[in-house]
Subunit: 501 residues, 2 copies
């Protein structure tokens, strides 16, 4: 270990579904290296993000706090400057903490008036992380690399545009990118991660390797665009009933988010196939990376966490992209490999304990022997990795959706302060309460596909009451306490104890 301390490699993909690994039984996509990581660590099948869109999901991972606490509930809402991030925690502990890829971070204009929200995500590393290589899909380093590799300027200008023949009869996602596989953003970022590790020296390091793919556009370099036969793509999880008696938000939102294209069978088949190709491409490069790490003696002294910022519908529920109500957006892949011998007993296991994005930071801190302060709202997974399992593990996960930024609420006439939803999801139920539109309840025992909203069914009235109390209690138990320096638990009490003589 570097100075006896673990390194941390926190790998994030963008918009990757939880079901898209062979290890969890996907019928088509092959991910041998992620499977290998899982067989050497623990794969959590029920990991959920607390917001299913890039910016706020990532802010939850990075701060270890819910959206209402870190106050960055959507993409262009800057993270307040007083929010500590993974970079700060590890930097404060003497680590070299760096970013290779995307964070969707926007600097706080209250501190830096020149900060431009729409530009920030491209130019600025997450506060606390050294900007080793930035890439949100158009990273300047990658574009410069494309130019240096001889591609025409127009390729660097619009790297994900594909050339389609004049008589094209297939969806654009069938066609290869103009850059070759060895020059993709995925390949480039992997090379840059290896360069970081190579030059990191003796200090322990924290590296956030954050791939842009398989985020849209769903186009892949050859051969990944044709690796999978569209004929093999599994059919989307959706029913006609969903559109016959839809929740009022569903139909306009699916239009706004491009879901209608997936009504066409040729389109969903092809896009799914290319989507799987992008995932296998990532898996190939992770194979390269893991091999490199083993070669350099880094495999045994690096904690690895692999996940995604949210999922992707690719036609499920008649939807494209993310957000809305469903597990396909909120459930994410999640693998942890703790190299320490105390984690040997669980290698290769798959666990169903509920995980929240907020758990990553305390898990990394705990594994590295660092303090996890009370402001963090998640839990360390290390006890689970050690094979311990108290009855006290969480029974449900929560999410917080702020959607006042879209065309759909405008069309529906929902005032912006009423564009909010809270989710609680346990073993049996998925419940969304909204302050400006009808609730959503799925009985996952009888409807695991989340196709029938039973929120209006009187037989579930007591269930809904109970779930609402749990939502309130969740919020009340997780208020910000960044400025609370003591409670009765941490100090004898306020004044004299009135209950003794």
């Amino acid at each position: 270990m570097s100075g006896g301390r673990l390194n941390v490699l926190f790998i994030m993909t963008d918009q990757m579904r939880a079901d898209c690994m062979s290890r969890v039984g996907h019928a088509v996509v092959r991910t041998p290296h992620l499977d290998g990581l899982a067989s050497d660590g623990v794969l959590f099948r029920r990991a959920y993000v607390q917001s299913a869109v890039c910016g706020p999901s990532r802010m939850c991972f990075y701060t270890g706090r819910y959206p209402h606490a870190n106050r960055s509930p959507w993409n262009e809402v800057p993270l307040p400057a007083d929010e500590k991030t993974m970079g700060h925690y590890f930097g404060d502990a003497g680590y070299r903490a760096a970013l290779c890829g995307k964070t969707h971070y926007t600097p706080d204009p209250l501190v830096d008036p020149s900060a431009q929200p729409e530009q920030g995500i491209r130019r600025t590393a997450l506060a606390g992380l050294e900007p080793w290589e930035l890439n949100d899909g158009r990273g300047e380093g990658w574009l410069a690399h494309l130019r240096s590799r001889g591609y025409a300027e127009e390729v660097a200008g619009d790297p994900f545009r594909v050339d389609m023949p004049a008589d094209a009869d297939r969806d654009h996602s069938a066609y290869p990118t103009r850059f070759r596989r060895e020059d993709s953003d995925t390949a480039f970022m992997t090379d840059r991660a290896m360069a970081f590790m190579d030059g990191a020296g003796d200090s322990p390091w924290f590296l956030h390797l954050s791939y842009f793919k398989p985020h849209l556009p769903i186009v892949a370099p050859y051969p990944y665009n044709e690796l999978y036969d569209p004929a093999d793509s599994p059919a989307p999880n959706r029913s006609p009933e969903e559109l016959e008696r839809p929740h009022p938000f569903h139909v306009p939102f699916r239009i706004e988010r491009g879901g209608v294209a997936y009504d066409d069978e040729d389109v969903w088949r092809q896009r799914r196939a290319t989507y799987y190709g992008l995932i296998t491409e990532i898996d190939d490069h992770l194979g390269r990376l893991f091999h490199f790490m083993k070669d350099r003696g880094l495999w045994e002294n690096t904690l690895i966490v692999f996940t995604s910022d949210h999922g992707e519908y690719v036609g499920d529920h008649w939807m494209f992209e993310k957000e809305l109500f469903y597990d396909e957006a909120y459930n994410v892949p999640f693998i942890v490999r703790d190299p320490r011998s105390c984690a040997d007993g669980t290698r290769g296991r798959m666990m169903d304990e509920f995980v929240e994005s907020l758990d990553v930071l305390p898990t990394c801190l705990d594994a590295c022997g660092l303090e996890t302060p009370p402001v963090l709202q998640g839990r360390s997974l290390v006890p689970l990795l050690r094979g311990e399992h108290g009855s006290g593990w969480r029974k449900e996960v929560f999410a917080d959706w702020d959607f006042r930024f879209y065309w759909t609420p405008k069309k529906l006439g929902i005032p912006s302060e009423k564009c909010r939803g809270w989710m609680v999801r346990d073993d049996r139920f998925k419940y969304w309460h909204f302050n400006g539109m009808p609730d959503v309840l799925f009985d996952l025992a009888t409807d695991p596909g989340e196709l029938r909203n039973v929120a209006g069914d009187p037989r579930y009235a007591e269930t809904i009451e109970d779930l609402r109390v749990r939502l309130m209690d969740w919020r009340m138990s997780n208020e910000d306490e960044s400025r609370v320096s003591w409670t009765y638990e941490r100090r004898p009490g306020f004044g004299r104890n009135p209950f003794v003589a």
Copy 2:
């Protein structure tokens, strides 16, 4: 007007009950000058604070935001440095914004590591306010004044200690303070306020005149200690039933907060009488101040707001001090005098529209022609002062109680993250939901004194369901948006409108 602009005088007393003004029909206490102010302005009978203890209540007034948004939910929890206060808003607008008295503000240690929470309240003016004269009950200027007036050092050392004869047969509150009426903190702060106004010159000013009284200790200078006959003190609002089947928090908390003393009739009679004396003392000095203002031509160019940070039980519900569930703590006196002719039509009215502490800041900004940004969570009362009344006025008020700092939850074994309560109070009901102890529901139609908790009565099940939804919706509609720079309402939309051709 100063440069054509209104001045603002924001007067706050500490721990003053809403019912303690002759104007609202109190049987004993006389407040002719507050009555006069009310007859020349509007008195709001249903003004509620959003936290019923000094620090967090004041932070709500000063920031115009709920405790969960300004993140300062209790006395020693510093206000984060990125929270703008009244001082900032008015200072930014070219006002001279100053403090004369108490704010219970603690500076943010994340910005100033040397800040000491327990000391802060004594030494630091609220961020944004010029520290014209500080006084939380032991203000150094007042103590120096006492010394300069020839009092013994021990008087300045412990100004509110009274001398009781060896054979004292009355409660300490019967006895006069050792300082004379003309040297009380109330007198001194009034003099200092007048000195401020005298020297303020041509700039418009914002003055927060914040009296320490009638906060405990309940002792008053002669003749105020004996102005009212204890025999005339109205009996407390309480019933034996309250203690026979009490809410689990009630009995230990009343012990912790000194309520047991008020079980004794002699004690509640005397303390109420002295408490009323302190209020009349304040009223006398406000009379002096208002006269001074009229004399100086300031009466017609100053907006005046009078209120208190919370109430006081003085034996109601077997309690002393503040907090817990009841209106006696949350309902506060509230008078606004807007000198402009547009407010002439409502002078002398009493209104029952629900007011929250958060309304003070937008009201002052609105009256002064200044912008009220979206981060403010209250409403301007100016339309009501102008006699307008849309049907859109709020139907309920809310509060947020964080009590993880006391001995009572420790004794009851309530974990600190479960020491939270949310209140909604409308025309008919007062409801408290707690995440760590039983709920409280009062049916104010049948139980206006709040003596019978009906939260467990199945006949109220639907009512409670509805109130819980309103609590969730309140929270969801009032999330922090300090970093939100646009919503669909303030900008055309994100990208292209998908609902047009």
